[in-house]
Symmetry: C2
Subunit: 395 residues, 2 copies
């Protein structure tokens, strides 16, 4: 049979990162490629204890169909935290549970965009979001990132040039892959531009709880007085990635439609784990738990930075993140990036090549992304050494 695959899916490739993840079944490879939380960050004992209680006390609720919007008590928990921790008001807003942060991104795109519409993104940006937009038949148009966030002049020029732009996708806090934070001034300016051109902002904030240095910057959503922002968050980086629980908070009119889109995708998110999340938040000290994760990543990030400082030739530049999971490195022009990635792989160190994060994936990149949350201390020390060797051998 000659399969007639849809135009939007025909040329869409699996995420390079997910593919690398599959290749990592070789245990001798040191992977700086994943974006996985550290396994020691999962509160296993508490989750095991609370699971047993759910099976004992409410099995019929936990194993039965639930409602699409999410388990009511967990939605209340999320709303309370958005309000108290992130200063995000709830009036006129609707907050629902999603199957990971990823689902919220895709649902918003489906809700707002028809095929041929445009999503404006930071360039580089999160590959999972870029592919979600492409899977809806949207064009992704990139605007370059500076050290303090997106280039405002180029953003406005892009908005002006793209009448079919419906969404501006931003990761303002610990951007993936660049690790940078958007300044408060830029957050305000971006809001004003979105209002001027009637474009919804999707503020993706999976790493917002993971600041381990520097000063907190308000979320864009907390500055929004015109209901322009849909905010996406996740428990993947603070409780468990494998359980697939995230949330969306946005204008009621938009999120009501997202609920319909979610209903036809998976009816609702795993009910048992929504209840488990709720019990964890109700009965344990999530702030203390998150403080522990921050301390862990601060230590791991500092270890990777000090190893880079000691070993890596000066011609390689890298960010010094204040939170999140990633370092972003730039090779000098005289080193061929593809040859470097290949050489690193020969030394059994996996990194993600920068072009995976480009809106235009055919555009070249001198960059690569390093993750410090997943590898062990020993792997960080050994792996960075190998990467430095690879660079030196190419000078």
């Amino acid at each position: 049979m000659q399969y007639r695959i849809s135009k939007k899916m025909q040329n869409l490739k699996p995420s390079a990162i997910r593919e690398i993840f599959k290749a990592l079944s070789d245990p001798t490879i040191i992977s700086f490629a994943a974006g996985n939380p550290a396994p020691e960050s999962f509160p296993v004992d508490d989750l095991a204890r609370l699971s047993a209680k759910i099976f004992a006390e409410e099995p019929s609720v936990a194993l039965q169909y639930g409602i699409t919007e999410g388990y009511p008590a967990l939605r209340e928990d999320v709303k309370a935290r958005l309000s108290s921790r992130f200063n995000i008001k709830q009036d006129g807003q609707m907050t629902i549970i999603t199957s990971g942060g990823q689902q919220g991104i895709e649902l918003l795109c489906k809700t707002m965009c028809d095929e041929g519409d445009t999503v404006i993104c930071e360039n580089p940006s999160f590959i999972g979001a870029l592919n979600a937009f492409r899977s809806c038949g949207c064009e992704t148009v990139g605007v370059p990132l500076g050290d303090d966030g997106i280039d405002l002049d180029k953003l406005e020029a892009t908005m002006k040039a793209c009448p079919r732009a419906k969404i501006l996708y931003l990761i303002p806090t610990f951007q993936n892959p660049a690790g940078t934070c958007m300044s408060l001034e830029k957050r305000k300016a971006v809001l004003a531009l979105a209002k001027k051109y009637n474009i919804i902002i999707l503020e993706d904030n999976p790493y917002g709880e993971l600041r381990f240095a520097g000063e907190e910057i308000p979320t864009i959503k907390s500055l929004d007085t015109d209901d322009m922002v849909v905010y996406s968050g996740s428990y993947s980086k603070v409780l468990s990635a494998g359980m697939r629980i995230g949330f969306i908070c946005g204008p009621e009119e938009v999120v009501t439609k997202m609920v319909v889109a979610k209903q036809v995708e998976d009816v609702h998110t795993n009910q048992f784990f929504q209840m488990l999340c709720h019990r964890y938040i109700a009965e344990c000290d999530i702030d203390k738990h998150i403080e522990g994760i921050r301390a862990l990543y601060r230590r791991k990030c500092n270890l990777m930075l000090s190893e880079l400082d000691k070993n890596m030739p000066d011609c390689v530049k890298y960010t010094r993140p204040e939170g999140g999971l990633f370092l972003w490195c730039t090779l000098p022009d005289n080193i061929d990036q593809g040859a470097f990635i290949k050489k690193a792989m020969e030394k059994k160190v996996a990194v993600v090549p920068g072009q995976a994060f480009n809106c235009d994936t055919s555009a070249p990149s001198q960059c690569f992304r390093l993750n410090y949350s997943t590898p062990s201390d020993e792997q960080i020390i050994t792996g960075v050494g190998y990467l430095a060797d690879a660079v030196r051998s190419m000078l």
Copy 2:
């Protein structure tokens, strides 16, 4: 802000059934509206015991990101059962785990259809599937159902008339809502038509394990020698609906693309419950468990039928299903269906009006759907009595 919602989502309404489900928080209402499995069908003790083992033995795998295709051991379980139980060969096919059967339906549509394409459906059909197709911007075209499945002449006429038809969506076994089974001859004829017009068949089989009377009929997928069929199954009706675990088996070229579509929707299905499913299948006797569910539904279905036989005026016709979860009832022409549904609701009995299942939701219906898996025996007896009263009062 004036939100620019996408054309495909603008007019899409939430599923009437899901909305009824939400309204059922009133505990005095007798609901025949849901499609929920009976709570006593969940193997709670086994799941609790196996969950504790997963937390003790493999917490880092269960709480961490997994791969999009699904937990490998569970995929092997599914493949083995498809082959041994349903005679579905695996060569040239790919089998992946989905977040419930619902997700597989939506993923196939996204993979095959661009906006404006057509999905041909039985009329009436499963509302969750119809809405999934609509959410992808597809037109749903209905072909009437007879007692032994879809009308073949009208199906061919529709295929001929719709050059943009990409998918033929069928629930051949215990059709939802009609409860009927497609005959073996029709299954073969439908395959031949699909081949002639180069249209993929989506065989949705959530109730295939729930036959409690009559002779088994082979799945369409098991008869398919041309890789025309994508088969969707689910653990929702045999283990737990709330866990959201289903699967898809179809031609490798198509399912490979569905994996990419799934990756951008939810990355992967809840990892812990995939492992729990696998352990249940490996360590417990799922056949014996399913036999128990069949006995339960046989009894409940027979109870509802005998109450209808005793109490309902002869002018109301209803199916006598050999499996699944539903009865399909037809009112005589002289009873206004909307007024009847309203009267039933006044008597605190909820049923689903037939037009919810129409491809053209503005088309009238004299039918309503009754579920016998969720209500208690007492509720079945009382509720059917009230429905009969409602009919009598309208004669």
